[in-house]
Point group: C2
């Protein structure tokens, strides 16, 4: 019954990285971590569930923000150690900063070979309004 | 000059995961690891360079296979601990199995709540022909 979970190569902490990608556009929203329980619940319920390393507990994405993820497809890479979720992001905001995607920092190179990270996407909603303190 | 490299939150091994995504279609090809040197060289040369954890050395993608990655954009997530590369995959094969993408295993759920990983993509080139032994 759970052979498919046994096939995943969990790391020393029992985790694998999981990419959440827009099922429609291919845009990458975020990368978070999953333990076995998170992946099982994601597959069973069709909602994005992760393991919060900072809070050290199961994190049902959207439980505070309402920004739930509906998962239409679950993929695994060739080494069995990275999960890819095709999702629909409710509310259109995946990032805790209130932006659509977590990947809003783009490297801008200068002619001297240096560079800096430029913020490319607007804050759609104030995080204070997303998360009740 | 290298402030942008200092901004990255390298893990205890000095690594971060890096996603390689098709710049044109949004398809995710692979996830590999980068150390500081790999990211610096990727930005400087515009070629995908990673850190091979199995071989414990710098891995210039395509050095054996010819399947070089041309990098058009480098992004960093909100936690500064995941890199996203927008790339063009030369040869159209990113995976060491000879497939286009490493994410060729798709979860197929059955009615009893179990599931199994189904291979969805064909091998485009025999790995024995890609890598000289």
């Amino acid at each position: 019954m759970s052979d498919w979970l046994d096939a995943v190569k969990w790391d020393a902490q029992g985790l694998v990285p999981a990419i959440a990608q827009d099922a429609a556009s291919g845009e990458i929203f975020m990368v978070a971590w999953m333990n076995r329980e998170a992946l099982e619940e994601t597959a069973r319920t069709g909602r994005g569930v992760y393991w919060s390393r900072s809070r050290n507990k199961l994190w049902r994405k959207g439980e505070e923000s309402g920004h739930v993820q509906t998962v239409s497809e679950i993929r695994l890479d060739c080494d069995n150690d990275v999960v890819l979720l095709k999702i629909e992001q409710l509310g259109g905001i995946a990032c805790h900063t209130g932006r659509r995607s977590c990947f809003f920092q783009k490297l801008d190179r200068d002619s001297q070979g240096g560079g800096h990270w430029v913020t490319t996407s607007p804050v759609l909603k104030n995080p204070d309004e997303i998360y009740r303190k």
